[in-house]
């Protein structure tokens, strides 16, 4: 009868007692899984063996693809021509709690949180000691634990930003069928803030550009950048302004040696690991990190067929086009032809800047070519499977966070620095000879200008929805863009849509949850 007490035969099928011992390897591999969860959607290349169940891994449960879809499609930046279930509702802001893209992203975030919880559970002092881990191993694991907490806070940040009141679990929560409680936005904000400030000390010290051992991992400056962003949006999340705190953390980043990349485009090329602007990348390394989501999606879904070879992407699916409202960010500028950022808005690749028929792929809206799977010198990486890293946090954002927080009345910063930071960013974007034209004066630096500048700087970088919500322009009628609310000219939509609904699957599975109002 002892035959019935089997343990897995295969060395790759591992129970925790077998996996974790005194060596660092498995702990590092679990940490890597947390980071990889931002880049790819399963445990096998090309989104095989998916992490999130019941949805299409590559399209619906990819962190980056999901983030991009949820932040960009409902905004004034883009519209997607695909008719896949759920996509039109994102375009038109008519989603319901059954939307599969919302579901995929939501469960991706909880998957990330659970990974972090798993790492924290497996690396308690007690467990490490009982497994005979050396002090050196313990020291490394201390950093891993801090990064797991950072990663968990990052996921909770996105939950706060998109869903507000959400289920809460940490490493003390039992694995099994106990239903998690719902945490309110204020408490969640405090939790994220507390976690980030507590884990900071044990995180890696900031490094600039590529680091042969650590590049890809979150360091202290990533923590500060997230805090800068979190505080900037505090008023949106809980009606309390924290602009002063935002300035504090922006300054911490600015005090490090990061610098704006002299060439804007080089932040988005296959060798962007060298960019001095990068604070936290999502790394892609060709066939070792294969996915149909992530950067593969960002390139292939936007590039027109004619330019596919030029950017060396694996496909040219052509679903995503810019709305003319994105073009307007630039047209409100005197010398926008000289803005290198504008050169990525490929009006030359369309015969119609306006989207007349949302389902047509070509000559119907403006192709955006922002990401390149080519090196900055134009040479090609080893394959057309993407090598380009996604800048989840980069210095440019800190410049604008600082300026905006000052304009919104935060203390601890000053107008002159704010203007300087904005002008630095603009001078980098404009070609050398036009750099003086890029310079604005103090009177021109208004909040409306900041929103436009964010549009020019971060278009197609999955930031827009958050920005529009913070500026009060996402819902309602104060700002209308084409196809907002499912009419060609755009129309006002209800404030309900400022946050996404908690997926109906979770409402069905967890009696502790109350749906967001209006859904």
């Amino acid at each position: 009868l002892d035959d019935l007490n089997t343990i897995p035969l295969d060395k790759e099928e591992l129970v925790s007692e077998v996996v974790f011992g005194s060596e660092i390897g498995p702990y590092q591999e679990l940490l890597a899984k947390i980071y990889a969860g931002l880049a790819i959607s399963g445990n096998e290349g090309g989104d095989g063996d998916p992490d999130v169940a019941g949805v299409d891994g590559g399209s619906q449960a990819s962190f980056l693809r999901g983030l991009w879809n949820l932040q960009t499609l409902p905004s004034d930046e883009a519209l997607c021509a695909w008719n896949d279930v759920g996509i039109p509702d994102l375009n038109y802001m008519t989603w319901t709690a059954n939307n599969v893209f919302i579901k995929g992203f939501y469960y991706r975030l909880y998957y990330q949180i659970n990974l972090a919880n798993a790492l924290l559970r497996e690396t308690t002092e007690e467990k490490l000691s009982s497994r005979g881990a050396s002090e050196e191993v313990k020291a490394q694991i201390k950093t891993y634990r801090a990064e797991a907490r950072f990663a968990r806070a990052l996921s909770y940040y996105y939950l706060l930003d998109m869903f507000r009141n959400v289920p809460f679990v940490n490493e003390d929560s039992p694995v099994g069928s106990t239903l998690p409680p719902q945490i309110m936005a204020e408490d969640l904000f405090d939790y994220i803030e507390k976690e980030l400030t507590e884990c900071e000390a044990d995180m890696l010290d900031p490094f600039v550009g590529y680091h042969p051992t650590y590049y890809g991992r979150a360091h202290k400056a990533a923590n500060w950048a997230l805090l800068s962003r979190l505080y900037l949006n505090a008023e949106t999340y809980m009606g309390v302004n924290k602009y002063t705190e935002s300035i504090t953390y922006s300054k911490k980043v600015l005090d490090e040696n990061f610098a704006l990349d002299p060439v804007y485009k080089n932040v988005f090329t296959a060798d962007n690991e060298n960019s001095v602007e990068m604070i936290l990348p999502i790394r892609y390394e060709g066939e070792d990190t294969q996915t149909w989501g992530g950067m593969t999606f960002l390139m292939s879904s936007t590039v027109p067929s004619a330019l596919q070879a030029e950017i060396n992407s694996v496909g040219a699916w052509q679903g995503n086009r810019a709305l003319v409202s994105l073009l307007r960010f630039f047209e409100r500028e005197n010398r926008h032809e000289d803005d290198t950022r504008f050169s990525m808005v490929r009006t030359d690749q369309t015969e119609n800047n306006e989207i007349v028929d949302p389902s047509l792929f070509t000559n119907n809206g403006i192709p955006i070519v922002k990401y390149y799977n080519t090196y900055s010198d134009g040479t090609l990486p080893p394959s057309n499977i993407v090598y380009t890293d996604f800048p989840l946090f980069r210095l440019g954002e800190i410049h604008l966070n600082y300026a905006e927080a000052v304009l919104r009345g935060g203390t601890g910063g000053d107008q002159a620095t704010a203007l300087q930071l904005v002008n630095d960013l603009r001078r980098r974007a404009y070609k050398n000879e036009a750099a003086t034209a890029a310079t604005i004066t103090a009177s021109q630096l208004t909040l409306d200008f900041i929103l436009d500048e964010r549009g020019r700087e971060f278009f197609f970088e999955a930031q827009r929805r958050t920005d529009l919500v913070r500026f009060g322009k996402f819902t309602g009628s104060s700002y209308i863009w084409p196809w907002k609310g499912n009419v060609p000219a755009g129309r006002s939509i209800a404030d309900t849509y400022k946050v996404y609904p908690i997926p109906s699957d979770d409402i069905g599975a967890n009696q502790n949850l109350t749906q967001n109002p209006g859904y």
Partner: protein, 366 residues
């Protein structure tokens, strides 16, 4: 089991209910909304139906108006103001004083369509609201989209030959034109008028209807010439019309500016301003008449036409960026940007000049 297939019955009609207080007076001016309830046309199934409201003064709907808006619920409120606006047209009154002062019957019916389909619309029964008191309501005013300048030196009072003014980018209701306002062949001073349509339709406006900017009046020596704007100082002027809305009326101001045209971009060494005289086009002698050319300074550098912005030119319009009034010459034709998108780029080489005939709207680079 093919009988299970749901087949659309194209219904003849459907029921619009008579509102509870239909017999009362609907004072549209003091009412926000009017509620209607209906039951869905009997399509044979529950359809996602869109309703629209039509009103008429006659039971037979000989003449009717469809109100703006559609409704997907069987109970909905329509805007009393929308009704009032439609009534003005149905009563066919031009003046507020002609508008009926007493309540009168109004007939209402609905049309139903199935959202997102090509299914034919269905009409409801007609109900009567016996006492509806309207008021003289008009739709919101919008800025004119066109503007014409006419005069003895501008089409010789023939609208077909009048000057079509150019919209200023991003400024609805604001137009400019580079206009020859010299003397006529007969030696008369120039006299002009404007209209936002190419017609003598009563909306044309001249000296008494416009405000002329202080500096402009002195510069051009304007005077009332029998209702026209008389030009005391013959010359080329940039004429600018700015429209404003007051109540339900347009008001206009007119400015006359010096005829300064600037060359911009790489071809002048990367200067983008509209102040430096050395980048200014030469103004043709008045004696050359309306058909004369403005000629740019010689290009100091080449422009590729695509990467680096090409040859660029604009007028100087205070308070506006150069690109809001820019224009270019394509295949010999002068094309202003107006309110439109970016223009294509034109290449040039060092030593060339851009010359423009603003009257004929032609030009060349050579």
């Amino acid at each position: 089991e093919d009988n299970e297939k749901i087949v659309l019955q194209q219904p003849e009609s459907f029921v619009l209910n008579i509102p509870k207080y239909a017999s009362g007076i609907y004072d549209l001016k003091n009412t926000e909304t009017i509620e209607f309830t209906t039951s869905q046309p009997n399509y044979g199934f529950t359809a996602a139906t869109l309703y629209a409201v039509q009103i008429s003064l006659s039971q037979n709907f000989a003449e009717y108006t469809t109100l703006p808006g559609t409704y997907s619920a069987a109970k909905f409120d329509i805007s009393a103001q929308d009704v009032a606006v439609a009534l003005v047209a149905l009563h066919d009154v031009e003046e507020e004083s002609d508008y009926p002062a007493d309540p009168h019957p109004l007939y209402v019916r609905l049309t139903a369509t199935i959202a997102g389909s090509k299914v034919e619309p269905v009409y409801s029964n007609v109900i009567q609201l016996p006492q509806v008191l309207g008021y003289f309501a008009l739709e919101a005013m919008t800025m004119p989209e066109e503007m014409y300048l006419i005069g003895n030196v501008a089409g010789n009072w023939d609208w077909n030959s009048a000057t079509e003014m150019i919209p200023v980018w991003g400024s609805p209701g604001k137009f400019w034109a580079m206009q020859y306002l010299g003397q006529t062949e007969g030696g008369d001073n120039a006299e002009i008028k404007f209209n936002y349509a190419m017609a003598w339709n009563g909306n044309e406006f001249g000296y008494n209807e416009v405000t002329i900017g202080e500096g402009s009046a002195g510069l051009a020596g304007t005077s009332d010439a029998g209702g026209n704007i008389g030009i005391g100082n013959p010359g080329w002027y940039i004429v600018v019309v700015t429209t404003a809305i007051e109540g339900r009326e347009y008001t206009f101001s007119v400015d006359f500016l010096p005829p300064h045209v600037y060359l911009q971009g790489n071809v002048n060494g990367g200067h983008w301003g509209t102040t430096d005289e050395i980048h200014r086009f030469a103004i043709p002698a008045l004696s050359l008449g309306a058909d004369a050319e403005f000629i740019s300074p010689a290009f100091t550098a080449a422009a590729q036409g695509d990467d680096d912005g090409g040859v660029r030119a604009s007028i100087q319009l205070p308070g506006h960026e150069w690109w809001q009034t820019e224009f270019m010459v394509f295949d010999g034709v002068f094309v202003p940007r107006g309110a439109g998108d970016d223009q294509a780029r034109v290449a040039g080489t060092a030593g060339q000049r851009l010359s423009i005939n603003f009257t004929k709207r032609t030009g060349k680079i050579e």
